[in-house]
C-alpha cells in the first residue's frame, strides 16, 4: 500500500513529531508509515484523513500486489 503522508505533512507544514502528537502515535510510527514499512489500522487512517481534511482514498492507494 502506498501513501502520500509525507506530501500531506509538507502541505500542512508539520514535522513528523507534530503529526505524531496530533494523532497520538510515536514519531517512529509516522516514520515507518512514510517509509511504507507499516500499514496503519482503519482508525489511524481515518484520523490522518480527518487531520489533513482529505478522504482516506486520497492519502492511501492500493498497489498491484495488495
Amino acid at each position: 500500500m502506498k501513501n502520500n503522508i509525507k506530501v500531506q505533512r509538507a502541505i500542512h507544514n508539520l514535522t513528523q513529531q507534530d503529526l505524531a502528537e496530533r494523532i497520538s502515535v510515536s514519531r517512529q510510527t509516522i516514520n515507518a508509515l512514510e517509509a511504507g514499512k507499516y500499514v496503519p489500522s482503519t482508525v489511524l487512517a481515518l484520523k490522518l484523513a480527518k487531520l489533513f481534511d482529505k478522504t482516506v482514498n486520497e492519502i492511501f492507494e492500493l498497489e498491484p500486489e495488495d
Binding site: S24, S26, Q28, T29, N31, A32, L44
Partner: protein
C-alpha cells in the same frame, strides 16, 4: 484501540530490575554454589515422592496432598522470575501505539515458534538425566526469548532514522 491486558509503563523499570536479579540468582542456585543458599521449610505438596519420615526421594512412591520438607529458595526465586518477567514483558512502552502492539504480537509469535523449535530439538537430542535441565529451562525460555526479541525490535524501532 484500547488494550487492557498490559501493565502500566511505570512497572517496567522495577520489574526489569527484579527480573534480572532473580534470574541471576536462579542461575546461581542451579550451579554448585547454590547449595549454600538453601532455606528448608515445611511445604504443602499436591503431589510428591519425597518420603516424609526421611526427606529422601522414593521413586514411584507417589503421595498426594501432604506436607514435606524442602528447600524453598528455588521456589521463591522462580516466583520472582516468572512474575517480574511477565510484568516486564507485558507492560506498556512509554509511547504505546498500534505499531508497538503489532511489533509485540509479531515478537510473541516468533518467540513461541523459536521456543518450541528449540524444545523439540532438545527433546529429540537430549537423553537421560540432563533432560531435566531442559525441562527446567522450559519453565521460562519462552519468556526470555520474547523479552530479548521484543527489546531488540523496540531498539530498532526507537533508532529509526530521524526525518531528513
Amino acid at each position: 484501540m484500547k488494550t487492557s491486558y498490559l501493565f502500566p509503563h511505570r512497572f517496567k523499570a522495577v520489574s526489569g530490575l527484579v527480573f534480572l536479579m532473580s534470574f541471576v540468582l536462579l542461575v546461581v542456585l542451579y550451579t554448585t554454589i547454590g547449595d549454600a543458599l538453601q532455606i528448608n521449610a515445611k511445604v504443602f505438596a499436591l503431589v510428591t515422592d519425597i518420603d516424609v519420615a526421611t526427606d529422601n526421594f522414593m521413586f514411584g512412591d507417589i503421595k498426594y496432598f501432604t506436607w514435606v520438607t524442602n528447600s524453598i529458595t528455588d521456589e521463591i526465586c522462580m516466583l520472582f522470575v516468572l512474575v517480574s518477567g511477565i510484568v516486564f514483558a507485558f507492560s506498556k512502552e512509554k509511547h504505546e501505539d498500534e505499531m508497538v502492539q503489532s511489533i509485540r504480537l509479531n515478537g510473541l509469535a516468533w518467540a513461541t515458534i523459536a521456543n518450541y523449535s528449540i524444545l523439540l530439538l532438545c527433546y529429540l537430542f537430549v537423553y537421560g538425566f540432563p533432560f531435566t535441565n531442559v525441562l527446567m529451562a522450559a519453565m521460562f525460555s519462552q519468556l526470555i526469548i520474547f523479552i530479548l526479541l521484543f527489546r531488540y525490535k523496540m531498539y530498532r524501532f526507537y533508532t529509526l532514522q530521524h526525518e531528513e
